[in-house]
Amino acid sequence: MIKNCYIHIPFCDNICSYCDFCKMYYKEDLVDKYLTFLEQEIESIYNGEELETIYIGGGTPSSLNIKQLERLFKIINKLNKSNKIEYTIEGNFSSTTKDKLLLYKKYGINRLSLGLESINKNNLKILERDNNKEEIKEKIKLMKEIGFNNINVDLIYAIPNETLEVLRKDIDFILSLDIEHISTYSLIIEENTKLYINKNKNIDEDLDLEMYNEITNTLKNNNYIHYEISNFSKVGYESNHNKCYWLNNNYYGFGLGASSYIDNKRITNTRSISKYLNNNYIYEKEELNIDDIIEYEIILGLRLIKGINLNLFKEKYHKDLINIYNYNELINNNLLILKDNYLSIPEDKIYISNEIIVKLLQSKI
């Protein structure tokens, strides 16, 4: 049963130095064309399920003009939405105008996710983004006035030359906005990004961890729940859409470069706009056998601080996880915790979770 849907809008007014997502500069006629093919893709694949989450990501969806946004929402309106739907759109502060916010409201969007990243000038220079503290404060105020009560902002840290001091200011500013959800990302210098090409280097990993701990402790002290490696929320505001990934649930993914997980197949769409505009959506399809599915269940489930629900696991796969992976030694070495029939990575070791997951996968019987 598919209850979740991701829609990708690959257009941006500005390309950030660190971004390796699927994106391109905004061009009005190209967007119009894109929406036509997006509609065709959705119509050809969607099977009428009632959806509980829709997430419009990018790129920068808010870079579309009002007319294009309205067209997009009308296309999405053909999808069958549950009355308790979580309906999110991403954007940046400058292009998320009052008119657009009113339009979002009109079409039932109830969650906003905004790229804030940092307010420090040096950080912004490296990230090649622009931000204005006052504008951000005003926009958040406006969003709340219009009636949005589920707002996320993204924070990026571990930026070259960043200090703990700089990070603390960023955190304090975000806390002052009093929003419901915060995603924090340690900067990854990916290949094919401007940062990589300009030979930027990651900061020292000890400092990186210190920053992560600073974020976690501060946010927790301010009543945010740390529920996933990079995500924090107030009680009741965890992102249902993101959780569908970590719980290994099915989801549709429409648009350029989008991914979907349907009927044991993980499908990644093409990142080539010319192919996409020729109805050649699919780039790669991974057919999963039961071993793969269980491997995904572990890799994804251990991202959640709460961990993997072993009862649910048994219900799903008719087998106990311990009979597939012998993780007792990892528990003895305090690399995993078994509590209330949840298997999880201790919070103080979440930052080395890859190492632990690999060890777990190696313990396959």
Binding site: D208, Y251, E286, E295, Y296, I299, N354
Partner: protein, 597 residues
């Protein structure tokens, strides 16, 4: 062919001076092969040889050439071009009456030019000096002519060639016939044939390359190897022109291949003499000496279940390579492997590379060791070819290590840095020979272990690659040697132990621990790295605990990428060796060798 019309010769040169290309051109000019067939460097049959530009195994080609209306048989005997194989070189020289000494018109005379020349003169060969690559823009034939005059050649005897364009090659062929003496064997006397190479063919067994010196050998003869006393029926004889052609007889003066269903290469020693069992020669040809490995290292499969595959690979290589020795050994750290002996470092590298490439076995090679001699307190002497075989300190009364005489050939401007290097390597200065005002040979006595360590890299870097060197083992000298252990997380890793001179142990210890710190990835816990002599720790570094290994951002449901990343990480772990609780990458075991100072 009557002996007067036979010429047996080889081509000798410093590496990369164009020996193989010149051989190709000669093959082409004598019509042995046409251009179309000419894969570059026809004589080097192994891929690895062609890639590295090194001739590893010997080969002989028979060519026919008409000169002044007379038919001549030219036997071109190829020789390996590296010091590790100098014994093989000397045996193939012994199969010739003449040698073509090739010198690069741009590079001029170098260390192996001289080393090979002296070997040729030792074997009483007539040497034709050739300056090759005169087509190069950087060629300076006049300068090279002067250099050759300085080492005793007459200007009028020097031939200028370009193997690339073909210039001078015809002239060279004429010169070969004119100046190289024909063989002077006695075809009626008892058979004496020199084995100058052997190779293993999976259908026909060991094939020997022979030069008949006296008498004749026929298909069906029963032969005897004079050194090993092995007796065999001659199943076939052939020549290579350069396609193989069977013949019924090989007579004195001729060169060819002999096969006799020999299954074990240990029966066939390069340098041995073949005679007839029924009518044996009284004395063997001179110059035979068994090959002794000078460098040893442990080879271990990364995946321990590949141990038997490794044994099979070594056995197969051994069929072609009598100089390779190996015996099983066990390491606490690495499990089951083999202690292998090699003629030198290049030989070692080639064997390792062939095992990885041709047999698909991933290897861990431990740091190479020379063979030390240890005199115990009870006056007995033992040989130690591996640090693990070093007796406890209290049992040792004296230690000895092998020394080499090393000749470094260099532009004179680098004399200073090179002497500093040799001094640093515990060398004893002998003398400096001036070839001319710009080029010198510096002679030193050095411990072989220092050459095995990083001498070559440092020689190259301190002379911008202009110096070349050559060495020969001269014997053992007393030396204050100790075994230095490396401990990871408090445990001795036997495969990382080395034998070093006591005065250099601190420096080595520091370098090795620093290097290991770079190579060993952070683990879940802090890993101390220590160098110790006995119980005494002389250097320490720490690999800090892993702090970050997480994929923070998982974008738009693209979890496939995350899984691929983790799979890669899992694969990466397969290339690590688990030693105690520490995961160690395979490079660590060679790091002891490659520590740059």
């Amino acid at each position: 062919m009557k002996e007067e019309n036979i010429r047996n010769f080889c081509i000798i040169a410093h590496i990369d001076h164009g020996k193989s290309t010149l051989a190709d051109r000669i093959l082409e000019l004598t019509g042995a092969i046409d251009k179309r067939e000419l894969k570059s460097q026809m004589l080097d049959s192994m891929d690895l040889e062609r890639e590295r530009g090194i001739t590893i195994k010997l080969n002989a080609v028979q060519l026919s050439y008409k000169y002044n209306n007379d038919e001549y048989q030219l036997n071109l005997i190829d020789t390996p071009g590296h010091v590790d194989f100098s014994y093989e070189v000397s045996r193939s020289l012994a199969a010739c009456e003449g040698a073509i000494l090739v010198v690069d018109a741009a590079q001029g005379v170098e260390a192996q030019t001289l080393a090979n020349l002296y070997l040729a003169l030792d074997n009483n060969l007539t040497v034709i000096p050739v300056i090759n690559k005169i087509d190069l823009p950087s060629a300076d034939p006049d300068k090279v002519i002067t250099e050759l005059e300085n080492i005793g050649f007459d200007k009028k005897d020097i031939i200028l060639t370009s193997a690339k364009t073909g210039v001078g090659v015809e002239e060279l062929l004429h010169k070969i016939i004119e100046v190289i003496p024909s063989p002077k064997g006695d075809r009626k006397s008892k058979l004496k044939a020199l084995i100058f190479d052997s190779l293993f063919d999976s259908y026909r067994g060991v094939i020997t390359s022979i030069r008949v010196v006296d008498g004749e050998v026929h298909k069906g003869d029963i032969i005897k190897m004079m050194e090993t006393n092995a007796v065999y029926d001659v199943v076939g004889l052939s020549i290579n022109n350069p396609k193989e052609k069977e013949v019924d007889v090989l007579r004195a003066g001729e060169v060819g291949y002999l096969f006799a269903s020999i299954k074990s290469i240990s029966d066939v020693h390069v340098g041995d003499t073949i005679t007839l069992e029924s009518n044996p020669a009284d004395i063997a040809l001179p110059g035979y000496k068994p090959m002794q490995p000078t460098v040893y290292c442990g080879l271990y499969p990364i995946e321990s279940n590949k141990f038997e595959d490794l044994r099979e690979a070594l056995n197969k290589l051994k069929l072609n390579d009598a100089a390779l020795t190996f015996e099983p050994e066990t390491s606490k750290a690495l499990g089951f492997g083999f202690r292998c002996g090699f003629l030198g470092l290049l030989h070692m590298e080639i064997v390792e590379e062939r095992i990885e490439r041709e047999f698909g076995i991933n290897l861990i090679a431990t740091s190479p060791s020379v063979v030390y001699e240890v005199e115990l307190t009870d006056k007995t002497k033992i040989q130690v070819d591996s640090p693990t075989k070093m007796p406890k300190r209290e049992l040792i009364s004296k230690t000895y290590e092998p020394y080499v005489k090393c000749s470094i050939f260099t532009p004179s401007e680098y004399i200073g840095p090179l002497m500093e290097l040799c001094q640093d390597k515990r060398g004893t200065f002998i003398n400096i020979d001036y070839l001319d005002t710009e080029r010198v040979t510096i002679n030193y006595e050095l411990p072989l272990s220092e050459i095995v360590y990083d001498f070559f890299d440092r020689l190259k870097s301190s002379t911008k690659g202009y110096a070349s060197f050559d060495y020969e083992v001269i014997g053992y000298k007393e030396s204050n040697l100790v075994k230095m252990d490396i401990l990871l997380n408090g445990e001795v890793v036997d495969a990382l132990s080395v034998i070093v001179h006591k005065d250099f142990a601190y420096k080595r210890g520091r370098l090795v621990t620093e290097k290991l710190k770079e190579i060993i990835p952070r683990q879940l816990f802090e890993v101390p790295i220590q160098a110790a002599i006995g119980m005494h720790v002389i250097a320490r570094e720490t690999v800090r605990a892993l702090r970050k290994d997480v994929l923070a951002k998982c974008y738009g449901g693209d979890v496939t990428r995350k899984k691929k990343l983790l799979e890669k990480q899992k694969e990466g772990k397969k290339r690590m060796k688990q030693i105690g609780s520490v995961e160690v990458p395979q490079e660590a075991f060679l790091s002891i060798l490659s520590t740059k100072e």
